[in-house]
């Protein structure tokens, strides 16, 4: 269980866990790290090092989640990170998975009908997820930013935020992708091209893990803060 600290070099972190590459990218840090430490990188890219470390450690160790350390992060930092993550899903991962689906369907002559059904299920998930993202970025996040910046808030904003039902949507969306994953690894009949199916399964696994992490950040870091603001404003 390695918990990374600000003295670690970025390159050490990546050697330890290369799944963190897309996470670094969300902070604007790209390949070609040299020997730069976390502390230096954060300075250079103008990132709050505590926030950066919390995000990569939570992503790296599934069980590590020190909620009590999360209450000082800037709301704008959290939201920027979440939006960068949405961009990664929407513009890269989801289209990529769909492309792989089509490739597998094209390569496997057997059980094609079943694959096409599963793809249909995935496309439905994708559309719903994109809608969820759009709703958060256009409606929820701007409201939260308003709430965090204006100490004095109109009752209308307060009412709007408390009407949002912040916690509900993720678990249902997550259930869908977990089902797709389980069907893929447990129940699909064997296919002609096992290698491309395996690569595909791995990409679904990674995506599911990423989503779980993303939902945790929204539900356990961002939303409790929002509730805190609301309570404060009532006092």
């Amino acid at each position: 269980m390695s918990i990374f600290n600000s003295q670690h070099k970025i390159v050490e972190i990546i050697e330890h866990d290369c799944d963190l590459l897309p996470v670094l990218h969300r902070f604007g840090i790209k390949l070609g790290f040299g020997d730069i430490s976390v502390a230096k990188a954060c300075e250079q890219y103008n990132i709050d090092p505590d926030f950066f470390l919390a995000i990569i450690n939570v992503y790296h160790s599934e069980n590590y989640f020190p909620e009590h350390k999360f209450s000082n992060f800037k709301i704008a930092d959290i939201i920027n990170y979440l939006i960068a993550t949405h961009g990664y899903y929407k513009n890269y991962i989801l289209p990529e998975i769909e492309k792989r689906f089509n490739a597998i369907i094209a390569q496997n002559s057997s059980h094609n009908e079943i694959l096409q059904l599963l793809e249909k299920m995935f496309v439905a998930f994708k559309n719903e997820y994109n809608k969820h993202i759009e709703n958060e970025e256009k409606k929820i996040f701007p409201l939260i930013l308003d709430l965090s910046e204006n100490k004095v808030m109109s009752d209308t904003i307060k009412k709007k935020v408390s009407d949002l039902h912040l916690n509900n949507t993720h678990s249902q969306l997550d259930d869908k992708i977990i089902d797709i994953k389980n069907i893929l690894i447990k129940y699909l009949p064997p296919f002609d091209d096992a290698n491309s199916c395996n690569t595909f399964a791995i990409s679904i696994f990674r995506f599911e893990k990423d989503l779980k992490d993303h939902a945790r950040i929204e539900e356990r870091i961002l939303y409790p803060r929002v509730k805190g603001f609301l309570n404060q404003s009532i006092d």
Binding site: M1, E67, L117, N182, K186, Y187
Partner: protein, 195 residues
């Protein structure tokens, strides 16, 4: 049914012992969580599944109740003492060699699943297959209850058991499963179910 995770926590004040136990546990294929002070438990607030706490014997009494409360949503928590003075079958003794320690830990881990032998995954019952078929055809719980002459409550309970056995929760997932297992034919399904 999903395989339950086993989490191993090492709670000890000695850095040397923590390092040693860490590498021994790691060889079993489980990455343990290191706990140096009670505060560290708050860095890991949501452990589920099985938890084995390997705890220095002098810390056990004062912390056991707190740890059990902290992880109350876990399936089972077990404590295994680490001792400087007492030898014992379950106790990890300071002079034990690494393979003996591994055996003792393995034994604690396998006792987790003994406790749950009745909960192993099973095949669907004929009744559950009837229910699954109707779910895939797009029936609501009430409609399922009416066609099978059972109460809505029973229908819901069948669905819950089906999901638990298969690891599939959504209607679209259950529909996919029914097609793959040829419980229904593709032409019969309600394609709206896949949304």
């Amino acid at each position: 049914m999903e395989q339950k995770t086993v989490n191993i926590l090492l709670f000890n004040r000695s850095e040397t012992i923590l390092k040693g136990l860490y590498s021994i546990v790691n060889e079993i294929g489980i990455e343990p969580i290191i706990i140096r002070t009670t505060d560290d438990f708050f860095d890991y607030p949501h452990l589920l599944g099985y938890i084995l706490v390997i705890i220095s014997e002098d810390l056990l009494e004062a912390n056991q109740a707190f740890i059990e409360k902290h992880y109350e949503s876990a399936e089972t928590i077990k404590f295994q003492s680490f001792s400087y003075t007492n030898k014992g079958e379950d106790i990890i003794y300071i002079e034990d060699n690494s393979s003996l320690i591994q055996n003792k830990i393995q034994q604690s881990i396998s006792s987790f699943s003994d406790d749950n032998i009745g909960k192993q995954a099973q095949d669907l019952t004929p009744r559950e297959i009837d229910v699954l078929k109707l779910v895939a055809l797009g029936y609501t719980n009430k409609e399922i209850a009416n066609s099978l002459f059972i109460s809505t409550h029973t229908a819901i309970s069948h669905r819950k058991n089906i999901s638990e056995k298969l690891g599939i929760k959504t209607i679209s997932g259950l529909t996919m499963y029914a097609v793959i297992k040829q419980i229904i034919e593709i032409k019969d399904i309600n394609t709206d179910n896949l949304k």
